[in-house]
Symmetry: C2
Subunit: 152 residues, 2 copies
Amino acid sequence: MSTETPKSSDDVEEGVVLRPRFDAAGLITCVTTDAATGEVLMVAHMNEEALRKTVATGEAWYFSRSRKALWRKGETSGHVQRVADIRIDCDQDAVWLRVEQTGGAACHTGRRSCFYRAVVAAQAGGAELKFVAAERVFDPAAVYGDHKHGDD
Amino acid sequence: MSTETPKSSDDVEEGVVLRPRFDAAGLITCVTTDAATGEVLMVAHMNEEALRKTVATGEAWYFSRSRKALWRKGETSGHVQRVADIRIDCDQDAVWLRVEQTGGAACHTGRRSCFYRAVVAAQAGGAELKFVAAERVFDPAAVYGDHKHGDD
């Protein structure tokens, strides 16, 4: 991949050279969906090394902002993500992974997806949350112990 | 919605109060998928007002980082997004919209999705891009004229 400053938006949008636009912290946003169902499992970040390792290994690697460390998804839980497809968007500042989620759950709370609550209009005005996919596939205490593992 | 500092991660992860964690720029990441196909159409950002308007109107509103302005998706192209479902993730720093994309294209390049290129391993090592969903639904020059409209 190239990290040079691109010459024009056409190079970035219509070219075949990977020129990821990492932010000031060196990160790019990554959306991960279930390859079978299309469900969004999680939104995380990648640094250059995480993106490189994901391409090279076919498993999802991210960069944990809370732990400030490269993070192989499933390294603690064993629930790795096998990558079926990697896409990048028009201006190359977001990545989309389609994965097979082994173990059936991507969220550290033990749920299939991190997006287990809907945002709905509240009767009193404003918005509130409603649990819509709250079932847990695994017990996070059994997998992570007392250690709160906010990323994985 | 509440923008107070949450008391604990349990409030954020297991509660029913909307407490979006906007970043230092006042923004939250938003992933938008096609409600019918599950395809990721785009990744954009929302400020508090964009999120509020999206909940209230049932159409997608974002905040344009390049134009530093609230942005009703489709305001130029007419291709608005009708929102079927709004989700928020475990730590409330990402939103997922499932939408009906009117006009059939979310990307300002005229394509259905912004994610029209795959990242693939290159024979010489590293990675390169491959167009996989390159067909244009509309001609961006006809819709936007000479004005390069990077967001919409």
